[in-house]
């Protein structure tokens, strides 16, 4: 684990360092480009701070074992890319259903299928949200710099622990494989899951306003019932009643929905008073922000909006922006975030700059801004 200071570091390594600082105690993974560096780094560093590292036989197993380890009280994580992320979906849903805190890093690459393994893409945005079966909500963060690979990994752990839910760090090969300066602070704030208080016996339901029940560990004599089947507050499987399904699934969704204010995070510049607002996220949002800066310098009235937390999506804010100005969505995919933005911005106001395979230069987006204005 790096001491406090400034480092010139690759995004994936910054992610691994963030995990160490956040108190990660268990990592399971499987090699895949362009995410492997996270695993390579943790295989060496995690044992030094007492954490367990294992390379599993596949991504199904990686996702499964981090859930298992989380129930022994360890903060746990895996990292992968598209093909592996697809394999993880079922057990990711299991983590949602059993309210198991864990962090899943997806360093997105150009898909579909094997696609172009070293090239960036953000075609997994919808999958991160809807990839597993059934109704649910989860939290996904979208970093756009090496610094944010570090910071957002820490936040991903904190949110996972705070809300007893899997959190996806939805990075891309652009930020994963580039090097930049990263500042590592000593006083990184970390959060731990809420433990049951004396006499608290319901670990899968709560009356609390935040909808987050307490979480004990295996081996504490609680005779825990953890199941991916619909269950009652004490964990008992209930595969048929209306109440059980309605109560559990609604609470799981509300747990994210009702805590939006705490979870949501975005960056914006002149999003209120511009003729055109460029909406972008991930590595693409860097040249997009550069293009907005350039446009403003040239006297154009252009704003910028970037969700840092992409799920839950800041839909109200997007709607507000779309009401007042034209929107140019700039993304590294054709279908990544598009439907979500289309939902909030009237079609006559929405313009698209989509690109595949590689990041554009600032000028390329700037030219597009001028066309749309």
């Amino acid at each position: 684990m790096k001491e406090k200071g400034e480092y010139f570091m690759e995004g994936n390594i910054a992610c691994a360092e963030g995990a160490l600082k956040a108190g990660c105690g268990f990592y399971a993974g499987y090699p895949i480009t362009p995410a492997s560096e996270v695993m390579n780094h943790l295989s060496e560093e995690l044992p030094k701070v007492g954490g367990r590292f294992i390379q599993m036989e596949d991504e199904l197993g990686s996702m499964a074992s981090i859930v298992g380890a989380s129930w022994t009280g360890l903060k746990s994580m895996t990292a992968t890319s598209g093909p592996g992320f697809s394999l993880m979906q079922e057990n990711l849903g299991y983590a949602v259903m059993t309210e198991t805190p864990c962090v899943v890093v997806n360093v997105q690459r150009a898909g579909p299928s094997t696609g172009q393994a070293t090239k960036p893409g953000t075609g997994d945005v919808m999958q991160a949200r809807f990839g597993s079966q059934g109704d649910y909500e989860l939290i996904a963060l979208s970093p756009n710099s090496v610094q944010e690979m570090f910071d957002f990994t820490v936040r991903a752990f904190n949110l996972a622990e705070r809300y007893r839910t899997p959190v996806v760090l939805l990075a891309d090969a652009g930020v994963g494989h580039m090097r930049e300066k990263v500042k590592i602070r000593e006083d990184v704030k970390t959060v731990k899951r809420r433990r049951p208080e004396e006499g608290e016996r319901e670990f899968f339901d709560t009356d609390r306003e935040d909808h987050v029940p307490p979480m004990p560990n295996f081996g504490e004599g609680e005779e825990l019932l953890v199941t991916g089947s619909t269950h009652l507050g004490d964990g008992t499987r209930d595969t048929s009643s209306f109440e059980a399904q309605d109560n559990l699934v609604r609470r799981l969704v509300d747990k994210i929905e009702d805590n939006r204010e705490d979870i949501e995070d975005w960056e914006e510049h002149h999003a209120e008073d511009s003729d055109l607002v460029v909406v972008s996220y991930g590595s693409m949002s860097r040249p997009a922000r550069g293009a907005v800066r350039k446009a403003r310098k040239e006297g154009h009235n252009v704003g910028f909006f970037r969700p840092k937390v992409i799920w839950p999506s800041p839909e109200k804010r997007l709607k507000k922006i779309g009401e007042n100005s034209k929107v140019l969505l700039a993304e590294l995919s054709l279908r990544g975030y598009r439907m979500e933005v289309e939902r909030s911005v009237p079609s006559e106001n929405l313009h698209i700059f989509d690109r595949l395979n590689s990041l554009p230069t600032v000028d390329k987006i700037y030219d597009n801004i001028k066309e749309v204005l």
Binding site: A28, L60, G61, A64, F218, G219, T227
Partner: protein, 265 residues
Amino acid sequence: MLKAKDIKEKYVRSHPSPFCPGCGGGMVLNSLSRAVEKSKLSKDEIVAVSGIGCAAWIPSPHWRVDTLHTTHGRAIAFATGVKLGNQDLEVMVVSGDGDCAGIGGNHLLHGARNNVDMNVFMINNGLYAMTGGQVAPTTEHDEETLTTPYGNPSSSFEAAEVVKAAGAGHVARWTTYHMNELIEEVEKAIETDGFSFIEILTQCPTRTGKKKNMSGLEMLEWYKENTSKDQDTEKIYVGTLSKVDKPELTEQIYRQIKEAGGDPK
């Protein structure tokens, strides 16, 4: 030694049994509980991990220990996380033949190769029972099932032999007819610091029984007649298939952590 009634009281949650009359699932639960009672284990140390299928419901929610009822085929992978997470826990996996050797086959192989300290009980009824009796990897050649109406064109998978070859520390096979031997074998499994795999041939009167026109009792009779503790017969061998000493994964990883300067506490 506790009486049957007390064993039930101590180890079984009072939920209505989900099993069909005559099913072997309850007998397995009973054997596991008895073995734990005979061993030095406290039940608070046990985490029972299971996947999907009738067998997965043996521990969850019925066994009065910590349970982790997971996704289809992945129990061993979840269990690996539990064991590596806390070495002091005694991890038991209860999994059907389809769950364990079919959809979860890869985890079975690598769990055995890693020789990670857990006890895996493969409840083998020769088909997919919960979903209606479809052919499984363990179904015999030519056998009729729901999805092999013309007979199984494929051959059966010798899970115990494969697990042995993959390097598990302890491999055995018994049937629900052999309750006493099974209990002893489970005790051995608990004592083994490594991957213990016990295949338990278990009667499913509802699916297999119906096809073969046999009751649960008749199936137990069949196990008695068609198995042998002697390896040199044509019958199905029951007993220990292998017991080897080899490095156990958790032990190795905890040692490495300490050598790297960490504390796995």
